[in-house]
Amino acid sequence: MADPMRIRAQAAGDKATVRVLMAHEMETGQRKDAAGKSIPAWYIQEVTAQLNGKTVLTAQWGPSVAKNPFLQFNVKGAKAGDKIGVAWVDNKGDKRTDETTVS
């Protein structure tokens, strides 16, 4: 099972800045292992973010997003105490959802 994300959401003015770290290999499929065998592609394809359960962002990623991905975005109207959820799905169908409270 995938490891948890680290999500930080900090309110400033009328928005909250959200910073996310995801634990994922983001394997491109273009590398070879020590034995010369191709390492199959394995990467996050879709990321969504929710404010209090309502989707505010959908992103699609390719394999060139760096390993253990970082994502930063600003959610309008989010204030301290609101819930920010982030979810990802990778090309193998593995998924992970985590949530944090805006501070």
């Binding site: 490891d3 948890p4 680290r6 910073r19 770290l21 634990a23 983001m26 390993k67 253990n68 970082f70």
Partner: protein
Amino acid sequence: MRSTPTAQAVLTLLAACMAAAPTVAQQKSAADGIAEYRAMLADGNPAELFEAKGEDLWKKKRGPKNASLEQCDLGKGPGVVKGAFVELPRYFADTSRVQDLESRLLTCMERLQGFDPVAISKTAFGQGEQLTMEGLTAWISAESRGLKFNLPQAHADERKTFELGKRAFFYRGGPYDFSCASCHGQPDKRIRLQDLPDLTKNPGNGIGFAAWPAYRVSSGEMWSMQRRLNDCFRQQRFPYPGYASDVTIALGVYMGVNAKGAESIAPALKR
């Protein structure tokens, strides 16, 4: 994270210098460019992912004895994690040895959880229980973030190990005649664009010994000091150092004692 207009103006200026001016300006802008790159990465160090995992692994019941590591003595008494990292390696009476963080964790994993430390030592980096070590060292070092290194040298074995570490540091050999000191024996030197800390003294807060474990950007892996030393010896063109072997612990004592007073930023972010 974003370039402010001022920063962009500065960058434009630097770019202009780079095009027109000779070597000195070029070098300066390269160094500035790298500094800018590092600053952009400072916020959101993936080491955090490993810290979280490490804390979980510390508290979780695991191994043949189905026990947690919460009673592990890292030098400040059973279960005391805060501040332990900046006093390691140190002498442990219960093993009659000077141990660094990794070798001490092997002791705890053996005695409390029933793991086989020899098997873990032989496991390749990034696999099996070595992944456990990555998480644990990340979290334990994070629990001493901001504290100053202060390795004990009261015990005769600690002083002896320092002397051995010093000799290991200057030990030249291999096809390139390199020692640790070849790269880390003088201040203000670089390999390519990488600044090299002078490890014969305190190179400053969060530099050198005070910056490991670290998340390695190049490989996307968490490296403890053991792995850092392993790769140093590889690039030194030496044979393969055993995990938690005497030479690695002795070097840890030498660098750690030299770093007295340096503030730990571990787990850091490194190229």
